[in-house]
């Protein structure tokens, strides 16, 4: 017997069930009549999916598998017949594995340091700050600074008197990606470490377990889902990373995204590029599905401020704490050093050759990079606004409504996000390079690429926030005579505003810093700061690249601070904090 008004059943599930039955049992009036708003929303969203998600992907598959009008593996054979491409596939997988392991390990240490040790508050704050830096920096910041430190004429190399060393190749890429992505692991694992009950620690200790035993038998096993999730996220992120291997990979260490890029931009081989990106698509989707299986439909949301009166977690064994403290401090120093190098690098004439102070690079950036700055800002703002509106609609519909094909709807909405940026970029140039939808070189193609990729964070944060909001609030509004539209605008929207802002925040950061998809889509008419940084790097103008990076970081930092302030403002009225941190949003 189904306990229908069993209080243990979450209200939103009841609500969902209710809707299902309404549509299921009500002699099937058409949706356009029963819920015109939902009908309109679904039609609009499905149409946009068709154009900006399915069409590019289908065109990509067709380009890969249809040769002269018939299905064929010719492209695949050709690509796989090249030893260099096999090496790229192998390199991609090895790199992703290595990064997911080291990144998760470092992330775990950081998470333990913050949640389970009594290290000085200052150090903990520093740890937190250092993990934010890579999130707001363009993806190749660490590559640039690693080049400045360990590249040709590298500062560290000189300092230690090492002559014969090359950062280019697997090692450099691995270090750089680990530094870039370990904050994601940190956030995912911190979230799960925080949701554990501290009483479990107390129970273990009171049952006579040593602190080591407690750590091994309680803390580690209970954080396994977070570790698993982190490994998958990092594997996916590394697999898709384009900027780092392009700068640091060099010829000895090819990976799929860079090979696909070089095939297309260097040899104008669209088919080869499409085929390579198909190779990339398979493991990426696999990771996406594994991750969904691991998390189920649970979101990683923990509303902050809920467990006000909980006890402290038990501290870790002293030796482990010491180990964590040493590793974390070293890493913090190293990361701060890398950022300092970029800052310094942007102010010297020629890196390592003529280290005299100059503002030339900034003058250059504001003179010749003005267009890139204004373009980037315009595109990011447009994408953020459009993406947020879509995220609210999609998130609301997915969480509160029941309709046929809902699972596929959710899956589709996340597809571009799950795919590596290179795949999306290549799919977009193939799809929008010809009539009827000719968008190449326009603003719209860049905005579309960003919107349908990065609105995912917005959707997740809206869904997570709605899960926290009892549908009884909306029912209360309806029962007080308000219409469903009035309820949506006066009750639902004000309550999810903090989540929407959180989504906007990450959308904006992504739009400012991403490169992998849009590198294929920029043109003379529309250019981006990130591509300018890349150009400077390939022209070996390290100082110029540093100056561009600094400008970008400062813009993002200011925008981020504004967003955070707005979020704080929007939650100040009611205590129930809706702050949603990055990891829940899937990073």
């Amino acid at each position: 017997m189904q306990a229908y008004d069993d209080p243990s059943i979450k209200p939103h599930r009841r609500y969902a069930e209710k809707e299902y039955l309404m549509h299921g049992s009500m002699k099937r009036k058409s949706l356009s009549k029963t819920d015109p708003a939902l009908f309109f929303a679904l039609v609009t969203v499905w149409l946009s999916f068709a154009v900006f998600i399915f069409l590019p992907l289908i065109r990509l598959l067709l380009t890969t598998f249809i040769v002269d009008g018939v299905f064929s593996f010719t492209n695949m054979k050709k690509v796989l017949g090249t030893g260099y491409n096999i090496k790229a596939l192998y390199g991609s997988l090895i790199l992703a594995t290595a990064v997911s392991i080291t990144g998760t390990f470092l992330g775990y240490l950081f998470a333990l340091a913050v949640t389970r040790t009594n290290l000085p508050k200052i150090l903990k704050a520093l740890l937190g700050a250092v993990t934010i830096l890579p999130l707001i920096s363009p993806p190749f910041t660490s590559s640039i600074s690693l080049t400045l430190a360990l590249g040709p004429n590298g500062m560290l190399l000189k300092a230690f008197g090492i002559g014969d060393f090359s950062i280019y190749g697997f090692l450099g890429t691995w270090i750089s990606e680990t530094l870039t992505y370990f904050p994601v692991a940190f956030m995912v694992i911190t979230a799960i470490l925080n949701t554990m009950s501290a009483t479990l620690d107390d129970a273990a200790l009171s049952l006579g377990a040593s602190r080591w035993r407690m750590f091994k038998t309680i803390t580690i096993p209970l954080s396994l889902p977070g570790i698993g999730n982190s490994v998958l996220l990092l594997f996916g992120a590394s697999l898709a990373d384009f900027a780092t291997p392009l700068i640091l990979g060099g010829h000895t260490f090819p990976v799929l995204p860079t090979e696909a890029y070089l095939l297309i931009t260097g040899m104008f081989d669209l088919r080869g590029g499409a085929t390579l990106s198909f190779l990339l698509l398979v493991p990426a989707l696999l990771v996406f599905f594994l991750q969904r299986m691991l998390l189920g439909n649970k979101s990683f949301v923990s509303v902050t401020g809920k467990n006000g009166a909980r006890t402290e977690f038990a501290k870790l064994p002293t030796a482990l704490t010491a180990f964590i403290a040493v590793i974390c401090s070293l890493l913090v120093v190293f990361i701060l050093y890398l950022y300092a190098i970029i800052l310094w690098g942007s102010f010297v004439k020629v890196w390592s050759v003529n280290n005299s102070f100059t503002l030339d690079h900034y003058i250059y950036v504001f003179k010749h990079g003005k267009k890139a700055i204004s373009d980037t800002l315009l595109i990011a703002v447009l994408s953020t606004v459009i993406g947020s509106v879509l995220a609210v609609v999609i998130g609301y519909v997915a969480q509160r409504k029941q309709f046929i094909g809902k699972r596929f709807f959710e899956f589709s909405s996340m597809l571009n996000y799950a795919l590596p940026g290179t795949v999306v970029g290549i799919a977009y140039i193939i799809a929008f390079n010809q009539r009827p939808i000719l968008l190449t070189g326009t603003l719209s193609i860049l905005v579309a690429a960003y919107v349908f990729r990065y609105y995912a964070t917005g959707i997740r944060s809206v869904v997570a926030s709605l899960e926290q909001i009892d549908p009884a609030l909306e029912e209360a509004s309806l029962s007080l005579g308000a219409s469903s539209v009035h309820t949506f605008t006066h009750v639902t929207i004000p309550l999810i505003i903090p989540a929407v802002l959180a989504g906007m925040r990450y959308l904006f950061i992504h739009c400012m810093t991403a490169i992998s998809a849009t590198i294929f889509l920029v043109s003379v008419r529309w250019t981006l700061l990130t591509t300018r940084i890349l150009e400077s790097m390939t022209e070996l103008q390290f100082s110029q690249a540093s100056a561009f990076s600094m400008v970008l970081i400062v813009i993002v930092f200011i925008a981020d601070a504004v967003m955070l302030y707005l979020m704080k403002l929007s939650t100040s009225k009611f205590h129930k904090s809706q702050e949603i941190s990055y990891e829940k949003v899937g990073a």
Binding site: M22, S479, L480, G481, F574
Partner: protein
């Protein structure tokens, strides 16, 4: 003739749970008079909340009809029904002040601000919260939030006040206090009220009538007194006030009186009930078959060994002195365990564990039901 405030006719709700259809509410009929407070009482999953939500319009019934003040409302949307709903967790809008919460319904009705203000103030006065209008829900205690939720609803002067376990989130003491507050307010305003609860003492103390539900069906409808003293089914007997149910073999049937064999003793006679759900002519008791004797703990006396008719030989399993009463757990000869609650009078003998005793049932306050 007095117009009925609410009528449910054959109201049914079927949920699709996976592939299995589940009848959460099964052909419920109910007539509620103006000004009445009717509670829906039953265990979790009995369909009481679903019934309430169908009256509200949050759920649409799979079958049947819902009439509010003579008007068919079966398929009317919530916001057109003119009902007020009080939620278990209050559902106060966290982003609005107390004043704006209470004014919300009036505003969506399109009333003018200067007309709204006095109404809101009056509603807040009614619940004793006139000074909190500028505060936010998170700054109120649970009891205060509950009262704001009430004010928000009564300010609308709804045709029907629907309450879904409104007190279950409050602590025990406050719950008792709010019970009487709500009842007073409801009587003062003369508002018709449906009240869902799983707490029987809440139902017994507040209701004009109680609807006992189980597994989607109505088990019994009646005044608290009727429900308590005259249960129509084993479920009601057991659910309200913890009755002992003793299964006995029928030895004789004489009109409405039934005589049964006492295990290890002689015989016991009490009146046999014929629940409404049975046809008039249906034979429900048969000689040699079993019947269930319903007797409440307070209607049992525990006495020393003797062997009069109507006494049940028993052994004391536990005896606990609780001041005004002695709570006994007894095991009958057929190994059934029963509870007896005997008022303690000074100088009375308290039996210890393992004593051989007799349980004396009050035959005018016990009855047989079909087993």
């Amino acid at each position: 003739m007095k117009k009925s405030a609410l009528e449910l006719k054959e109201v049914t709700k079927v949920f699709q749970k996976g592939r299995e259809p589940v009848r959460a509410v099964d052909t419920v009929n109910l007539l509620v008079e103006e000004g009445e407070l009717v509670t829906f009482l039953g265990p979790s999953g009995c369909g009481k909340t679903t019934t309430l939500r169908m009256v509200a319009g949050f759920e649409l019934p799979t079958g049947g009809q819902i009439t509010i003040q003579g008007e068919d409302m079966t398929n009317t949307p919530v916001n057109k029904r003119g009902i007020g709903f009080v939620f278990q967790n209050y559902a106060l809008f966290p982003h609005m002040s107390v004043y704006n919460n209470v004014a919300y319904g009036l505003k969506s009705r399109g009333e003018k601000d200067d007309a709204i203000r006095p109404k809101v103030i009056k509603a807040l006065q009614l619940v004793g919260l006139q000074k909190t209008e500028n505060r936010y829900p998170s700054q109120l205690s649970g009891g205060e939030q509950q009262r704001v939720a009430l004010a928000r609803v009564i300010v609308m002067e709804p045709k029907l006040l629907l309450m879904d376990e409104p007190l279950s989130n409050l602590d025990a003491k406050l719950r008792l206090h709010m019970r009487t507050e709500i009842r007073k307010l409801q009587k003062k305003l003369g508002i018709t009220c449906l009240y869902v609860t799983h707490d029987q003492s809440e139902a017994l103390t507040m209701a004009d009538r109680i609807v006992v539900m189980n597994k989607g069906k109505v088990e019994q409808i009646g005044t608290p007194f009727e429900i308590y003293s005259n249960p129509q089914s084993l479920f009601v007997a057991d659910f309200i006030g913890h009755a002992n149910i003793v299964k006995l073999e029928i030895s004789a049937i004489d009109g409405e009186t039934l005589t049964a064999r006492v295990p290890g003793g002689k015989s016991y006679a009490a009146k046999a009930l014929k629940p409404d759900k049975y046809q008039k002519t249906e034979v429900i008791y048969q000689q040699g078959k079993q019947a269930a004797l319903i007797v409440r703990p307070e209607n049992i006396q525990v006495v020393e060994k003797s062997d009069d008719t109507g006494r049940f030989p028993a052994r004391v399993i536990s005896s606990i002195f609780v001041g005004s009463h002695i709570e006994y757990e007894l095991r009958l000869e057929n190994n059934m365990e029963i509870k007896a609650s005997v008022p303690y009078l000074t100088g009375m003998r308290v039996f210890e564990e393992d004593s051989e005793v007799y349980a004396l049932f009050d035959s005018s306050n016990s009855a047989f039901l079909p087993a």
